[in-house]
């Protein structure tokens, strides 16, 4: 994990707030990467049923729609989970 920026505190140690920022950022990146991979998996399954020598425009359109629908699906599930957990 890189802290970057000017070091504060003694001996170039990162401050706690720098560490917290770095952790948050790492987590966001990791979550996003996992999200992309999941969408890739699901939408490839739905849209590229007969792989050919290139992604056809209809396959690309399907992938685009699928990305939108999956994001929407995530929203619905997020709302339900937060509701059930009493967090919303």
């Amino acid at each position: 994990m890189e802290y970057g920026g000017a070091a504060s505190g003694s001996g170039g140690q990162p401050s706690e707030s720098q560490v917290m920022d770095a952790v948050q950022q790492e987590m966001s990146i990791a979550f996003l990467q996992e999200f992309y991979q999941t969408v890739r998996d699901k939408c490839f399954d739905k849209c590229v049923t007969k792989p050919s020598s290139s992604l056809s425009s209809s396959e690309q359109q399907c992938l685009a729609r699928c990305c939108d629908r999956y994001a929407e699906a995530t929203q619905i599930v997020t709302k339900a989970v937060l509701d059930v957990s009493g967090l919303e």
Binding site: E16, V19, M20, V23, Q24, M27, F31, E34, F35, T38, K42, C43, K46, C47, C62, R65, C66, D68, R69, Y70, E72, A73, T74, I76, V77, T78, K79, A80, V81, V84, S85, L87
Partner: protein, 86 residues
């Protein structure tokens, strides 16, 4: 808790607990969306039909209820062990 964590400020400890809870929640949402997508969505169109939306919402809620159900079921079985055997 390890020595290192005990040396961290209360702020940091709260932060870590919070991040862990957040990560767990995100994991649940991820997993649920994955499962329910398979059950609910046919071919992705230009919009999600109200049927598909309802299915996604129901699926998420029923999944969470099923988790509670399974735990309670086995707890009940363990409780009634003298009568039933397991």
């Amino acid at each position: 808790m390890s020595q290192k964590q005990q040396a961290a400020s209360a702020d940091m400890q709260n932060f870590l607990v919070q991040q862990q809870a957040k990560a767990q929640l995100q994991q649940t949402i991820s997993r649920l969306t994955d499962e329910c997508w398979t059950k609910c969505i046919g071919n992705p169109g230009n919009y999600m039909s109200s049927k598909e939306q309802a299915c996604m919402d129901n699926c998420a809620r029923r999944f969470l209820e099923s988790t509670q159900f399974v735990v309670k079921y086995f707890q009940a079985k363990a409780g009634g062990q003298q009568h039933e055997g397991f």
